[in-house]
């Protein structure tokens, strides 16, 4: 990375500043900044403050024991981080996952998508000084946490999606309550659009800020909302269908602008689609078992698999290598936050210091997910 010449007539003008890691909104994450007055010359993300060695931990635990700790990197999107793991292990074992479990996997991952996007929009509101947004979204997010709690039994880390299906069945009243939540939330999102996404104050802070052209988004390996906000219609739920997504009717939200506003708005559009998916899945839910009996120590034949799904932040992928022993020989987690991290130094060039929080958070970056 080279320092832009127009901002560095002499090195004395440049000041190095550290943003973070004491959670100044950055969240256990530091960005090294090189400033020329109020302008950013160069930025370098410094990840790793919350690295826990999930991949090494996975090599010491068997395929069932790995379920609860693998969802820890992103507790607000915990079903989505487990889904590609479960799909990968199912593929290695040749499991025929029952249809009801496939539907429940979809329902839970879409509920997690809404829970995660609501958090994202709330914090983005705080970063632009729009406190109403965090109060609304944290309050409304709770209805989806309640919905997930009725199914998974916990409020954040459900350990619900497991190899061979899901951990338990959905109670009947959760279906009825869930449909009510869908109806209510759909109306509520119109208000979000008016009070936040189309609010002149928010538009002023986010429109045209941090523009990521589509060619660069692809080259830098950006994924998920970041990629789709830059005009690339790539969504694994549609492009590489898994579970029962082909049986459900939904659109892929995509915007052309590529700026911070588009990255926020695409999240709202995705939540609308998620509500549509949850409603259809709850109505179509077939009868039958929800999990296969694999035992406490499943036998996974030797083999290698690369599985990926569309999590809330983008493509979540697992590279699992099994040598036939009860524990994975190698388990690599490719998280969307880590994939989007490369876009951050690209966007943090020639911008005002005041725009850093908006650009940073519009990438929907979750430090723990990136560090694993």
């Amino acid at each position: 990375m080279t320092v832009e010449s127009e901002y560095s007539p002499d090195a004395d003008r440049i000041m190095a500043v550290s943003l973070g890691p004491q959670h100044p909104g950055a969240g256990h994450f530091r960005i090294k900044l090189w400033l020329d007055g109020d302008f950013l010359v160069r930025a370098e993300p410094d990840a790793g403050y919350v690295h826990r060695g999930e991949e090494k931990m996975a090599e010491y635990r068997n395929y069932t024991q790995n379920v609860p700790h693998l969802e820890r990197p992103v507790i607000l999107d915990s079903s989505n981080i487990l889904l590609p793991y479960a799909i990968g292990v199912d593929e290695l074992m040749g499991n025929n996952v029952p249809p009801r479990a496939q539907y429940l996997r979809v329902i839970m991952s879409e509920a997690n998508r809404i829970i995660s996007h609501m958090y994202f929009l709330g914090i983005l509101g705080i970063f632009v000084g729009h406190s109403t947004m965090i109060e609304w979204s944290m309050g409304d997010r709770d209805f989806w946490i309640d919905f997930a709690e009725r199914i998974g039994g916990a409020r954040v880390t459900f350990a619900y999606v497991i190899p061979g299906g899901v951990r338990n069945d959905i109670p009947q009243y959760a279906i009825e309550k869930g449909l009510q939540t869908c109806d209510w939330f759909e109306k509520r999102m119109d208000e979000y659009e008016k009070i936040f996404l189309k609010n002149p104050l928010f538009l002023e802070r986010s429109e045209g800020i941090g523009v990521l052209p589509s060619a660069d988004a692809v080259a830098l390996g950006a994924t998920g909302t970041v990629l789709r906000a830059s005009g690339v219609k790539h969504d694994l739920r549609r492009d590489e269908p898994y579970c029962v997504y082909p049986e459900l009717d939904f659109d892929v939200a995509v915007l052309k602008e590529g700026d911070s506003w588009a990255r926020a708005y695409v999240a709202l559009l995705e939540m609308r689609e998620s509500v549509k998916i949850i409603r259809q899945a709850l109505k179509k839910l077939p009868q039958g078992p929800v999990r296969l009996k694999l035992g406490p120590q499943p036998r996974v034949p030797a083999g290698e698999v690369y599985s990926r799904t569309e999590a809330a932040r983008g493509e979540m992928s697992y590279h699992i290598v099994s040598d036939g022993s009860p524990r994975p020989y190698r388990l690599k987690i490719g998280t969307p936050s880590f994939k989007n991290l490369r876009a951050l130094p690209f966007l943090l060039r020639k911008v005002h210091v005041a725009d850093i929080p908006v650009i940073y958070w519009s990438l929907n970056y979750w430090p723990v997910e990136a560090d694993r």
Partner: protein, 178 residues
């Protein structure tokens, strides 16, 4: 217990396990690997699945193969760079998993792998092919001790700056307390 237990209600017949369906031949992966092998005859095809293909080549030729995969085959979107420590055969493996956002291969991932000896492992960087691989390679460097020649910055990303033990994802590194 003196009372006789009541007869168990008739159990519904257990669902019969479906007979294993013969897997359809992964035609697309086969066609793709044929294209690669035609151009690079020394490439070893590791496995093929319906939407996946993994090939292994030598570190000296990986850049050429990656360029071919990106420009001619359309795999322009890097997904993950993974490493594996094959301690039994004294080798380290690096796998670049690349997807595509172009119509036709959006559901497909090609894995391009290379193997090097565990002592002094040096491979070329593929940042020029996929700029998004930069942090992935940096992570693979610190976790496996693989030196990516030409990489602009191989300082620690996830590990502490003062980490001076073995690279942690190598098999001979044992986690504390294990």
């Amino acid at each position: 217990m003196s009372q006789a237990t009541p007869p168990a209600p008739p159990q519904p017949p257990k669902p019969q396990a479906a007979p294993p369906q013969p897997k359809p031949e992964p035609a697309r992966a086969k066609g793709l690997s044929a294209q690669i092998v035609q151009r690079f005859p020394d490439v070893k095809v590791d496995w093929m699945k319906e939407r996946r293909l993994k090939v292994t080549t030598k570190p000296a030729r990986i850049k050429e193969l990656a360029m071919f995969a990106r420009d001619d085959l359309g795999f322009d979107h890097i997904s993950t760079v993974s490493g594996v420590d094959w301690i039994a055969s004294n080798e380290l493996e690096v796998v670049y998993f690349a997807g595509s956002v172009k119509p036709g291969w959006v559901d497909f991932v090609v894995g391009i792998a290379e193997r090097v000896a565990r002592e002094n492992p040096v491979v070329p960087t593929l940042i020029e092919v996929w700029p998004g691989a930069e942090y992935n390679e940096r992570e693979t460097h610190e976790m496996f001790g693989i030196n990516f020649q030409g990489h602009p910055d191989q300082s620690h990303l996830l590990l502490p700056e003062d980490w001076n033990d073995l690279p942690p994802l190598r098999k001979d590194y044992v986690s504390p307390g294990r």
